[in-house]
């Protein structure tokens, strides 16, 4: 077994663009769930909308900043549309509506009616929308090796996307940190505990929930852009499983914490890569073929995470004392 190669692969996941994208998406979900108690079961929908918004407007010839704004605006409008009918109702309604709405986005994206725009189920090729982002890079062309990690500077799975992705993660963490310590965050926390109590203290609960839904969704859309920049926009790769991974990451790291989503994402992708690489090397193909190993990896990750959530329900960074308070 080539351990050094496995280790490099695994360590590479720590700062991979996908890890950053998921961390960002989980930070958005943390604003919804951890801070406000909103059950958004369609975070992948926000990401996919962001991805489409960015890719389609770039393909239409819009500059980078405008395409990013379009992506974020799409998510904001989506959040408003979902929130208007549901945020006045009990929490579970939002869960049902978001899961359905995210599916609708995916199904519309892959429908043949809009092939010119979305490329239907085959999606949009990465090369058709990557240029503006790569052109914005300050680096020269070529590749760069930092220790054992060698990536191109600008193209696709590059240092540039890593820099931008993790920069955004840092920014989002700073934002959440500031908000959690502010009176605004306190109102959200109150809503998470008991909406009616907060209402009786004169706060417009509906408006706060809307702000939270839109803010978390916009962060999700940014995550969607980072997610598709090193690959293609493929609606089927951004469906329900993606939402569930984001939830897993959030609960694993610890909801209502600043760095929980980041840590959760790193652990999630690192352990997945570790399991898959070790098995690919160690298990002969006569017993398990590559794609079976792929699936088996997900199973192991699922079971491990179930155990973690059962035995450490507050997540890795969560506050045990806070969780021990039974909500009477």
């Amino acid at each position: 077994m080539d351990w050094s190669r496995i280790l490099v692969n695994v360590a590479g996941e720590i700062f991979a663009p996908t890890t950053a994208a998921y961390a960002l998406a989980a930070i958005g979900l943390n604003v919804h769930f951890g801070l406000t108690g909103l059950l958004n079961m369609g975070q992948a929908g926000f990401m996919l909308l962001g991805a489409y918004g960015f890719a389609i407007s770039t393909i239409a010839g819009w500059p980078l900043w405008a395409a990013v704004l379009v992506a974020l605006a799409c998510a904001a409008v989506f959040g408003l549309l979902l929130g208007i009918p549901t945020l006045k109702l009990r929490g579970d309604y939002l869960a049902i509506v978001t899961i359905a709405a995210a599916e609708i986005v995916r199904l519309i994206g892959r429908s043949t009616a809009l092939t010119d725009l979305t490329g239907a189920s085959s999606g949009l090729r990465g090369n058709s929308y990557k240029d503006t982002f790569q052109d914005a890079s300050p680096f020269p062309d070529g590749t760069f090796a930092l220790g054992p990690f060698e990536y191109s500077l600008n193209a696709s799975n590059s240092w540039w996307i890593r820099l931008v992705g993790w920069g955004l993660v840092a920014l989002a963490c700073l934002l959440v940190w500031l908000l959690m310590r502010s009176p605004w965050g306190r109102v959200l926390k109150g809503i998470r505990e008991d909406e009616d109590a907060v209402r009786s203290l004169g706060k417009n609960v509906y408006s706060y929930k809307m702000q939270s839904l839109v803010l978390g969704g916009v962060i999700g859309a940014a995550a969607g852009i980072i997610y598709v920049l090193p690959r293609a926009v493929q609606p089927d790769s951004m469906g329900r499983p993606m939402t569930f991974f984001i939830w897993t990451i959030l609960l694993l790291g610890g909801a209502a914490t600043v760095f929980g989503p980041v840590l959760g994402s790193i652990i999630f992708w690192v352990s997945l890569m570790l399991i898959k690489s070790v098995m690919r090397e160690g298990v002969p193909t006569s017993i398990m073929r590559t794609e079976q190993i792929e699936q088996f990896g997900w199973i192991i990750v699922g079971v491990t995470l179930m155990l973690l959530v059962i035995f450490r329900p507050q997540g890795i960074l969560g506050d045990k004392k806070e969780l021990a308070i039974d909500v009477r």
């Binding site: 502010s182 009176p183 306190r186 109150g190 998470r192 109590a197 203290l201 417009n204 806070e322 308070i325």
Partner: protein
């Protein structure tokens, strides 16, 4: 005190009675008000008209006319299921009435959201306490404050814009916590408090916004007697500051000791109104109470004994259940005497 005082006579000594400038004023104002349900008050802060609430075929609230005197401590009493909490919910925007209008300080509140009602100065507490469990006591208190610019999303990102106000809020909160004997619990999670402590926290939190009117739904339920005494003092102090208090309470001792005016509800309707001593002596009230739950303490043993005698008489088949007839109270009582 001689034994032949009229029933319901209030003993002259009231624990924690304040210098009572507010009380004197309110008593003077209310002294000319007739003791009939729905009577007009000289200076009403809340005026409700034709407020009804139906749940399916059942009428939970059916209030023809109700006025609450500004600056007074008004008690709302009545047997379980009388509609007191439902009326609170309606007045504070937590529930929508089937019909009716009401105003607070002259402004109509029909259809106004609960949050706006609270912001306009009418703050309520809940019968089933709503402590925010996974927030500390002090954070609960801070949340009660009004005019914190940091509660705006954009301002929140710039701490210098809200730190000064936060400091004021915290000082006010700490003062209140001391008053309510919760200062030792300042940094504990509210979920770790006992039931009685949560009641106290909820009441203290409601006072954070310096409301014009507080509506307390059974504030003393589960609070120990020693603390009840000091809470009575706080409520009276609120009156001295000019705050209007409307509270629901089953403990008749407390009602008698601090309220200036008592409104009695039964089966959704207001069946009696008046100063505590008169209302306690009102046969309709005794009937309403003893008809519903026999062990209620009406605050005067003489009343209770009288009630028990009546109950015995009822059991002997001499009278029908007076409570079932509260709609036609006066006549029924005449018949049962």
């Amino acid at each position: 005190m001689s034994a032949d005082l009229p029933r319901g006579h209030v003993p002259p000594h009231v624990p924690h009675a304040t210098t009572a400038t507010g009380k004197d004023r309110v008593t003077a104002d209310l002294s000319h008000v007739a003791h009939t349900p729905g009577v007009h008050k000289p200076d009403a802060i809340v005026v409700a008209d034709g407020v009804t609430r139906h749940f399916g075929g059942m009428t939970a609230v059916d209030v023809g006319h109700l006025e609450v005197q500004r600056g007074a401590i008004t008690a709302l009493i009545g047997p379980n299921g009388a509609g007191k909490t439902t009326l609170f919910n309606l007045l504070t925007g937590f529930d929508k009435p089937s019909t009716g209008t009401w105003s607070f300080e002259g402004r109509s509140l029909s259809g106004v959201s609960a949050a706006r009602v609270a912001r306009s100065g009418m703050v309520r507490t809940f019968q089933l306490t709503k402590a925010l469990s996974r927030m500390t006591v002090i954070e609960n208190m801070r949340l009660g404050a009004a005019q914190q610019p940091g509660e705006n999303l954009l301002t929140a990102l710039v701490p210098p814009l809200w730190k000064a106000r936060e400091k004021e809020i915290t000082e006010q909160a700490e003062e209140l916590l001391v008053r309510f004997k919760l200062d030792a619990k300042r940094d504990d999670f509210a979920g770790s408090l006992s039931g009685g402590q949560r009641k106290l926290l909820e009441m203290a939190r409601a006072l954070m916004s310096n409301p014009t009117m507080v509506m307390l739904d059974e504030p003393m339920a589960g609070v120990n007697p020693a603390l009840t005494q000091s809470l009575l003092g706080h409520i009276q102090a609120l009156r001295e500051d000019g705050t209007t208090v409307l509270f629901v309470e089953h403990d008749m001792h407390m009602v008698r000791h601090i309220s200036d005016w008592v409104v009695v509800m039964a089966e959704g309707k207001i069946v009696a109104e008046g100063p505590p001593e008169d209302v306690m002596a009102d046969q309709a009230v005794i009937d309403a109470y003893l008809g519903a739950h026999h062990d209620t303490d009406l605050g005067d043993d003489a009343l209770l004994e009288d009630g028990i005698q009546r109950l015995e008489a009822e059991e002997a088949g001499e009278v029908t259940d007076a409570f079932a007839d509260t709609g036609s109270t006066t006549t029924t009582q005449e018949g049962t005497r």
